[in-house]
Symmetry: C2
Subunit: 148 residues, 2 copies
């Protein structure tokens, strides 16, 4: 049974229900795959945001990651203890704090990403080019939807 042709149920409601199930399953599967050595998903997320967008305040990070400020404070502190980020004071506003990656943090982003994505990448490499196209397209749609 292939994936695309005859299939009558493409209504928003049907796709939505199926999609939720798929997302829950794959999330758990990914979490299960994460090695002992790796950072928890959320902390790794913070590193990648900093890597991508540069230094940032805890507040912005919290908003970006859809988490409340106190949660972000704690996560950032953990990363500070691990030596992966550092907090420096804001140039003009002493209320604010600037969080940025250390060199160790930069290295960690690269290494962890490689290690972490190994399983998923392996799975994807068993798919056809067309199937990967589908997932790549889905990525963009999901990101778009998540942004609202």
């Amino acid at each position: 049974m292939s994936s695309s042709s005859r299939r009558s149920s493409r209504s928003p409601a049907t796709v939505g229900g199926d999609l939720r199930v798929a997302l829950t399953r794959i999330s758990r599967r990914l979490r299960a795959e994460r090695g002992e050595a790796d950072l928890p998903e959320g902390q790794f997320g913070i590193l990648t945001v900093l890597h991508k967008h540069g230094e940032m305040s805890p507040g912005s990070l919290a908003e970006h990651e859809r988490v409340r400020p106190p949660s972000m404070t704690r996560a950032v502190n953990t990363l500070v203890e691990l030596g992966l980020v550092e907090k420096v004071e804001h140039a003009t506003d002493k209320r604010q704090v600037v969080v940025r990656l250390t060199t160790a943090g930069e290295r960690e982003v690269a290494e962890t990403r490689r290690r972490r994505d190994a399983w998923l990448t392996k799975q994807l490499s068993t798919l056809t080019v067309e199937e990967r196209e589908i997932l790549a397209g889905a990525n963009e749609l999901l990101i778009r939807i998540a942004a609202r």
Copy 2:
């Protein structure tokens, strides 16, 4: 900017990295959308498994949901307190327990699913038919991958 044509990076590794980000974001977004009244994702998952596969032991449920047995015991007990499932003794093996949906549980599956999917369904209804095709295709691929 459309979603499918010019874009050179379709390697397993690239898609994998992007996909992980997309999955994390949408999961958080979905969780944020879950109303106060709804069951937590995990508990709802148990109900749907029972609805789909019929009565089951806690052990099988744990395996199916990729969770350790003690975690499942606790989750099931919560559902028992809510009156959504019941535990009955196994016909021949007194070590085992059989978990099954109550009538209230059956009703809850239908109602919660409808309520819960409302937000996602609404988002999907703003997409084009082609985009929904992509997500529907992605569903199947993700389920397949998650099954390994």
